[in-house]
């Protein structure tokens, strides 16, 4: 056995730019807006195998709708999406600052990805269930989840709907179609498939939508969920939010230099769509196409939402340590809020003054919610009764919990 490392041939992928370098995105394989044809929902999967290598885009650079991927929209839908996205951004900004002030332990923003929760939340039905990642609070914003409950959860205070048991932002909101989050990544992707199979078993046409990050497609959970979804033709929409970064790790470490994430669908014999995640209309149209397939018994679709994580991973990292600080501003597919605003202005349904009024009203709503939460108490100032620590382990507590409650004296 030789050990001459000078001849080492192990390949480790590297991103095209690091801090201090000029921004280089490499080959992003961007199709022109409107260039991708929309197939019928019952098109056989073998006919759809070019789609994962294209990019579905509906809005052109001027904010006009082009091509065949058109969402079926009700009056006011786009304004509702815009409000949810603008609210999400304002809420994120405020709560990030609150964490920096030491009023809670942790926060994560979803800047740049607000369309990915807000749009499916509006496009799907009340009976459908979302299995989210931690960057999809916009789903709840689009369904008018009370901001006060979000703030109380983030503060783990006496009014926290999750009783202080869970890390900030790992919400659970069954009535809003939002499944319980966990800090582990990927481990609920299969739950979306199981939930969808349960609906099929009962003969109900509700569906599930599951999300996973591009980095987490490396986990077995991703591949196992796709196998089950394919084998049992589960009525589920499975989404990869490809925001290019998994904490400090670029998408190439998850295989992005070899193929697309949407193309993983081909191996499982289900359709794979690659969609501009910063284009609200394309996200809407793709969600509706996949949901219609699921609801009519045609099975699962894998959607790669191609987007960019415009902020750090969380309050715990500094993205300037691993990527150029101006990378977000140079993302060639722009910002989802700005692009939707541009489109609505082009339609004549929106203008700068109405946008400014919206920003002021969401800022006021966030201020009011935070004020309420702070009145109850921030992390450590207020918490639920310590007996809540022992509740909910089992439906009925066993002797261990009862004895230990006694040791604490409650």
């Amino acid at each position: 056995m030789t050990n001459d490392r000078r001849s080492g041939r192990l390949r480790v992928p590297e991103p095209s730019s690091r801090p201090g370098d000029p921004v280089e995105f490499g080959d992003l394989a961007l199709s022109p807006a409107g260039a991708v044809a929309r197939p019928d929902i019952d098109a056989p999967e073998p006919c759809l195998r070019d789609l994962p290598f294209l990019l579905i885009r509906t809005l052109d650079d001027a904010g006009n709708v082009v091509g065949g991927w058109l969402p079926d929209l009700a009056d006011g839908d786009l304004i509702r999406a815009l409000k949810a996205m603008v609210l999400t951004r304002a809420f994120d900004e405020r709560m990030f600052k609150i964490q920096r002030q030491g009023k809670t332990s942790f926060y994560m923003k979803s800047r740049g990805e607000e369309a990915l929760g807000a749009v499916p939340s509006l496009a799907l039905r009340q009976g459908d269930m979302c299995f989210p990642t931690y960057r999809l609070v916009s789903w709840l914003m689009a369904r008018d989840y009370p901001l006060e409950d979000l703030v109380n959860q983030i503060f783990s205070n006496a009014q926290d709907p999750l009783k202080g048991r869970q890390l900030p932002i790992l919400y659970s909101a069954r009535d809003y179609g939002f499944y319980s989050l966990s800090g582990n990544v990927g481990s609920r992707f299969g739950h979306a498939v199981g939930w969808a199979m349960a609906k099929a078993y009962r003969g109900i046409d509700d569906i599930a939508i599951g999300y996973i990050g591009e980095g987490t497609t490396a986990e077995g959970d991703f591949h196992e969920a796709l196998t089950f979804a394919s084998v049992y033709r589960a009525p589920v929409v499975l989404c990869v939010t490809n925001n290019q970064w998994a904490i400090s790790t670029f998408s190439g470490i998850a295989g992005a230099q070899e193929t697309t994430f949407a193309a993983k669908a081909i191996a499982y014999g289900i359709p794979g769509l690659r969609v501009d995640g910063n284009d609200v209309l394309a996200v809407w149209a793709a969600t509706q196409w996949a949901a219609a397939r699921a609801r009519s018994g045609l099975g699962a679709t894998l959607i790669e939402f191609f987007t960019y994580r415009a902020e750090g991973h969380s309050t715990s990292d500094d993205p300037g340590k691993y990527r150029p600080s101006d990378e977000a501003s140079k993302w060639p597919l722009g910002d989802p809020v700005e692009r939707l605003k541009q489109h609505l202005i082009a339609l004549g349904e929106w203008d700068d003054s109405r946008h400014a009024a919206l920003e002021e009203s969401v800022a006021e709503a966030v201020r009011a919610a935070v004020k309420q939460g702070e009145a109850v108490g921030t992390l450590g100032q207020s918490k639920p009764s310590v007996k809540e620590m022992f509740e909910g382990v089992f439906k009925e507590p066993d002797w261990r919990v009862l004895e230990q409650r006694g040791e604490v004296g409650i």
């Binding site: 480790v12 590297e14 582990n184 490396a218 400090s248 790790t249």
Partner: protein, 337 residues
């Protein structure tokens, strides 16, 4: 000698081994260019090369499986699982493969791998950044499980783990990465700088696995602890005002049973302290060993101070965390009998 915190000491151990042995390489989530979310691999890629310290896909099972394959070939991979809470997708690889490869192949193939992972609570990390899973590894024959409590031990034990020809789970108590936390959470943070065990040699040295350290000699009761709880136990002993002997186990497999038995036979009492939930925790094994081997020397029933039998709760960090008050209470209890 240099003053190091635990992160710097671990970094120094890895740096030393990368320089010394071309068969050592490092991979894990965010460990490459970024240097790890806790900075333990800071600058190692820059210093030793892209293919010696690199980012891994988010796939803990894949990370450990790949390390086992490399180890079987003859390399000495040191992999990081970003939080011990996330190690479970790798559990099958650790239990069914790493732990048994030597036995089932009659030594034809082995897994000389080191799996580093930050673990434990005290950081408001909630239920997925706070757990202490050491017992689920200690239960598996064929895995060694090491837990340092100081910078000096961290470097010496990590080098011993890397040099060990068997698979080692190396759990790093992240609450004491930057200072010796004694559980008094209301007080200002203490840095390692003034602690004698922050004096760390910059060169190679190792501490034999399976050799406990007597942190404090005493006559009346033996306290067994590891990781963060060594410091918490010291505070609890001071609060209780008892003449306790504190033993830092340093590794739970191999376990320095001789040190435990010698001490308990001397003191006649034993209190076991760990962060993990009490029921089925490693304290149960320690208590059984003490009972089996020291029964006729015992003056009181052995007590366990541990996390409650619930998931780790965010708002109730200090209600859950077994602090010095609970240690002192257990000490007072065994002394009353």
């Amino acid at each position: 000698m240099a003053v190091m915190n635990m992160i710097q000491a671990l970094n120094s151990a890895l740096d030393t081994m990368l320089a010394r042995d071309p068969d050592v390489l490092i991979f894990g989530e965010d460990v490459g260019y970024f240097g790890g979310v806790f900075r333990v691999t800071d600058k190692l890629q820059e210093k030793h090369g892209l293919d010696r310290c690199f980012d891994a896909p988010i796939a803990e099972g894949g990370i450990v499986a790949t390390a086992i394959g490399m180890g079987a070939e003859g390399l000495r991979p040191v992999v990081e699982i970003q939080f011990a809470d996330y190690i479970l997708p790798a559990y099958d690889q650790l239990v069914s493969e790493a732990a048994r490869l030597r036995y089932r192949s009659n030594g034809e193939f082995t897994a000389p791998i080191t799996v580093r992972s930050p673990y434990g609570g005290g950081i408001f990390g909630g239920q997925t950044h706070s757990q202490s899973p050491e017992a689920i590894f200690a239960h598996i024959t064929g895995l060694k499980t090491v837990i340092p409590s100081t910078p000096y031990d961290a470097k010496g034990l990590l080098i011993a783990a890397i040099e060990c020809d068997d698979p080692v789970i190396f759990l790093e108590p992240k609450r004491i990465y930057n200072g010796p936390f004694d559980g008094r959470h209301g007080q200002a943070l203490t840095s390692w700088a003034q602690h004698p065990a922050a004096q760390v040699p910059e060169d190679h040295y190792s501490i034999a696995l399976g050799k406990a350290a007597i942190v404090r000699e005493g006559a009346d009761v033996t306290v067994l602890a590891y990781g963060t709880m060594v410091h918490v136990a010291l505070a609890g002993i001071a609060d209780a005002g008892v003449d306790a002997e504190l033993i830092d186990l340093r590794s739970i497999v191999p376990l320095d049973v001789d040190a435990i038995v010698a001490s308990v036979k001397k003191t006649g009492r034993c209190v076991i302290v760990h962060e993990a939930s009490r029921f089925g925790g490693f304290g149960g094994e320690l208590s059984a060993l003490v009972t089996e081997r020291c029964f006729y020397h015992l003056k009181a029933p052995t007590q366990r101070v541990a996390g409650w039998d619930t998931p780790y709760p965010h708002a109730f960090e200090w209600d859950y965390f077994p602090g010095p008050d609970r240690v002192a209470k257990a000490l007072a209890h065994v002394m009353e009998v």
